[in-house]
């Protein structure tokens, strides 16, 4: 019986971790380029709305995900205009972007989508593999975007560590002036980082939609973007660690749903279990005291400035 409980716990944990992981992967690319995107929650929301609208109206999950990616790219360009081109304060702008995204998606969902949901959910059992005890349920009986998130981890890791793009991005995130002297277009590269990062973040929003029958509701992301910020810090900007940190948050969140079946947790007040993921967020922030953000992260860069 307890084997079943742990299977459920980790299966739920992986599902809850996927949106966080997508958002964290996107954010770590952006932050390593020297931009602190507090608007991550807004990007997730816009991605989720775009996905829900296309998914529900077309009935195609692929169309939904593609729309979310398009929304993410558009968000990246808008944020690049604000953060990179205009040098706006990244914290204030990011917060306002999230607030506007919340209001905008709420109104648009009310007018364009209502309570409509898609006719199918996204769960995709991998034939054969999903039958494997424990791992089959935990890893191979999930939504396509959960599988894709797992695949995205090594890809992003390679992008940031094994390509010129990653090397240059990390260089301008640490010393933009030196990068410019070496001939790197800081603004252009930060724009690309924002576009790619926001596409991944928007897929995180889409994964919430795909997993829950394709509908949208106001504030669907419920603060997951902000938790992803903590995941990035906890992971110290490493994709593999981001996967582990996201899983930690996911399992912590799932714990409340199986606590009754775990003898040692059965009598812990449910409020404490509800609080656990957020407690972990605080712990992550404490950890951040020892983490080193990319040196130029959050500092607007003006070409030619010292």
């Amino acid at each position: 019986m307890s084997g079943g409980v742990f299977t459920t716990l980790f299966a739920l944990g992986v599902a809850l971790a996927a949106p966080l992981l997508w958002a964290a992967l996107g954010e770590l690319i952006i932050e390593q380029s020297g931009v602190l995107n507090i608007g991550i929650e807004g990007v997730m929301l816009i991605g989720a709305f775009g996905c829900a609208y296309a998914y529900v109206r077309s009935g195609s999950m692929v169309a939904g995900i593609a729309t979310a990616m398009g929304c993410g790219a558009a968000c990246g360009l808008v944020l690049a205009l604000l953060y990179v081109r205009l040098g706006a304060d990244q914290i204030v702008t990011g917060i306002l972007f999230s607030v506007i995204a919340l209001a905008g998606t709420t109104v648009l969902a009310d007018r364009l989508l209502g309570t409509d949901v898609a006719e199918k959910t996204g769960q995709l059992d991998i034939p054969g593999l999903s039958e494997i005890p424990f791992f089959g349920t935990v890893l191979f009986s999930q939504d396509p975007l959960v599988y894709a998130a797992i695949v995205a981890v090594p890809l992003v890791s390679y992008l940031m560590s094994g390509t010129w793009f990653g090397l240059y991005v990390r260089a301008i995130g640490a010393r933009p002036r030196a990068g410019e002297t070496a001939g790197i277009g800081v603004r252009a590269l930060r724009t690309w980082a924002l576009v790619i990062g926001c596409v991944l973040t928007a897929i995180g929003g889409a994964s919430l939609v795909v997993a829950t029958s394709g509908g949208f509701s106001p504030n669907l992301t419920a603060g997951r973007g902000f938790i992803a910020l903590a995941v990035v810090v906890l992971a110290r900007w490493k994709p593999l660690w981001a996967a582990a940190a996201a899983l930690l948050f996911g399992v912590a969140q799932a714990l409340q749903f199986v606590a009754d079946e775990l003898g040692f947790l059965a009598h812990v007040p449910s409020d404490v279990l509800l609080m656990l993921p957020y407690l972990l967020t605080v712990v992550a922030v404490v950890f951040a005291a020892g983490s080193r953000y990319p040196a130029a992260c959050g500092v607007p860069y003006r070409p030619g400035s010292a």
Partner: protein, 374 residues
């Protein structure tokens, strides 16, 4: 110099775009609000005496005006009352936190609204403060009247435990595993009475039933709703009550991914949303409740601080929605049993415990069904 001029131009352009975007969103929102209010006021003006100013009524609610849920149910009732009386109606929806109700309520109070209904069970403190602050407005709230309620207040309560009890009867007859569950929003008596009455209703017709439940501290987080539902399904629960708003989508997703699991949404007949997994919906007929309280308030038929409890007998569409193509799950005898028990509740032969008795976690599994007339 050239660069700073370029940046300035960009900023101007951006500011202009931002203003256009905000105006567009605002226009959408205003249009939305007007659709419920101004249409009614226009109709009224034509029927009211020329020198008579139409009365102004407000609805502050959680959920939205087209959420096929709590918010839409109250909006429909408010519109019906406004249409019938010629009053001007303003609906402010999607309010979830007490400060939002305080802010929007104060705005309506300042504008001299005659009556405001605040449709959320956890904001009575705000209601009482607004009643003191704006004594010329009648402030009605969803909940039980406190002692010494101000004169310009009223309190409404659909006895939700009765309809939820009927939902439990249907679940008790439909379950194949003898385990039923509920994924709940927040733990407070007016919510807690629903899953507890649901458990008691199931035990009324099926003594072998066990009940499992989770609170997710959200009405709208579908991902958490799905995770909670999957947790309950792993405990063999096969009929899930959903005292939630849009988080119900998560339960629907979980049911779609499992075999033989049914969902029972609340507030609105949601069969069309996902016919293949929705057994029926638990209905409180909040439309009739809202229409009735507005009508009484506008006609001056309310006593100061009056408490209006609405039972199944007073809410004709309360109970459970039709089973549609899922009637076979209960069978003809099962459907007849649900109808029979509804009639017994209306007649008083079955006395569903009150909120005081069943408003705490665990009570639905402890009360002896025989003691209430089962």
């Amino acid at each position: 110099m050239k660069d700073s001029t370029g940046t300035y131009a960009w900023r101007l352009l951006l500011a202009a775009l931002a203003v256009v975007a905000v105006l567009a969103i605002a226009a959408c929102g205003d249009d939305n609000k007007d659709s419920s209010g101004d249409a009614a006021s226009t109709d009224d003006t034509s029927t009211a005496a020329a020198d008579e100013t139409p009365k102004k009524i407000g609805l502050l609610t959680t959920g939205t005006q087209n959420d096929k849920n709590w918010g839409e149910a109250f909006t429909i009732g408010a519109k019906a009352a406004a249409d019938a009386s010629g009053a001007k109606l303003t609906v402010v929806d999607n309010l979830n936190e007490p400060p939002q109700y305080a802010q929007q309520g104060a705005s309506l109070g300042q504008e001299g609204y005659d009556m405001v209904l605040m449709a959320l069970g956890t904001i009575q403190e705000v209601q009482l403060k607004l009643a003191k602050q704006f004594p010329d407005t009648l402030w009605c709230g969803y909940g039980i009247a406190p002692d010494n309620a101000p004169e310009n207040t009223c309190f409404v309560d659909a006895l939700q435990e009765q309809a939820a009890f009927l939902g439990g009867v249907a679940a008790g007859l439909a379950t194949k595993t003898n385990v039923i569950g509920a994924v709940n929003g927040f733990e407070f008596p007016q919510l807690t009475r629903q899953p507890e009455a649901y458990a008691l209703g199931a035990r009324c017709v099926n003594p072998d039933v066990t009940f499992v439940q989770k609170y997710i501290n959200s009405w709208t987080d579908a991902a958490l709703g799905k995770a909670a539902a999957k947790g309950l399904i792993s405990q063999k629960a096969d009929v899930l009550l959903a005292p939630l708003t849009t988080a119900t989508n998560g339960l629907i997703a979980a049911a779609r991914e499992s075999d033989g699991v049914w969902v029972m949404p609340e507030y609105f007949d949601s069969n069309d949303t996902a016919k293949e997994v929705i057994l029926t919906s638990v209905l409180f007929d909040l439309q009739t409740l809202a229409e009735d309280v507005y009508t009484k308030g506008l006609n001056g038929d309310l006593k100061p601080g009056e408490m209006l409890p609405y039972t199944l007998a007073e809410l004709p569409d309360g109970g459970v929605a039709p089973f549609y193509e899922d009637e076979a799950v209960l069978g003809a005898d099962g459907v007849a049993k649900v109808d029979e028990i509804k009639q017994k509740i209306i007649d008083g032969d079955i006395k569903v415990p009150s909120t005081d008795e069943i408003g705490t976690v665990g009570t639905g599994s402890k009360i002896d069904p025989a003691s209430i007339g089962c």
